[in-house]
Amino acid sequence: MPEVPLRMPKLSMTMEEGEFNSWLVSVGDTISKGTPVAVVMTDKVEMEVESTVEGTVLKLTAQEGDVITVGDPLGFVDSTSDEGLGDLDDLLG
């Protein structure tokens, strides 16, 4: 099953990085698209990060206080969904 990253999302027009706050899920949890998985801080506001994939939580690499660039991984999911758009990584060579 493919290992898919959960990434720090761009949550506003000007956001370039966010500060990781906390995880809302644990390793082994089953999540689906849209499940809130973490809380991050940007522009002094706390925002929820939603999962973009369906599957089982594999690794949670981000820790409280980490400043992570938009697009970089926060954790990894063992993805089960082949119903959606699919992984975009190969398309973005």
Binding site: R7, K10, E16, T69, G71, G84
Partner: protein, 328 residues
Amino acid sequence: MRVIAKDPDLARHALETMWAARRFEEAVDELFARGLMHGTMHLSIGQEASATGTCLALRPDDMITSTHRGHSHCVAKGADLVRMMAELLARDTGYCRGRGGSMHIADVATGNLGANGIVGGGIPIAVGAALAQKMTNSGRVVVSFFGDGAANEGAFHEAANMAAVWHLPVVFVCENNHYGMSMAADQAFAIENISARGSAYGFPGVTVDGNNLQEVYEMVSVAVDRARAGRGPTLVENVTYRWKGHSKSDKNLYRTREEIAAWQERDPIARFEAEVREAGTLTAAEIDDARSTATQKVRNAIRTANAAPKAPADRNLLLDAVYAEVPA
């Protein structure tokens, strides 16, 4: 009146169109989240039946004007996904050569006169295009897409009235997704149905379940026929819902997760698929195939668009792009 779910070709086309719109928006959502798209995006996920049902009622040479939330209108009107994606990725091969972005995509060749970054801004333009069709007896009709928010802009009122007094071949399609930006429609209107504003200007208005492809298709078809017959405008209010926030900066503080989830249960695409399955028009495999074909097209668009050269930051090119060249 054709029943789309019962016609194999139309059903397939409708499914591919709605899935293309859905997948396109999902792609934009993800690419934006990865920091690969500039600006902001106004996603129409959840509103696919409104766009598709409306455009199914149009001839290829009919026209539309669209909104800031216009990707699904564009797809439904037959746009090239690669050129759309390229525009959002700021490539030189985009519809606007990187100069317009999401809110200004147009495909004049397929009758899409353009999305618009100003709420209500395209409505008077649609009326003008309709005026030209009437004056030249072209037989073509113009659909003006706009949202509930736009129905309170002066531009809507002036344009609606002008279309009414001149019996112009325009169909006003109001996609009422219950929220302007963050203002709920029931706070922005003292009336129950926006369609009542048709009669305020002297033409018919009808409120439709915007997530019911067949209903949208039927009501817009009636309106298009009216317009083409020279009997003037109609207001079709497609009641629908957007799953995502207004823009990418929207924290959805003005609505609840429960409300969003409830509307996601009423997914217009899932609903249409169920109708098609029940009618036996397409097999499950064919339905899946429509979805995966659309998915592949969007994936291909990402790959192709991403590989294209960026719009060059050439100042002279920019300056030259401002004015159309005066013919010698």
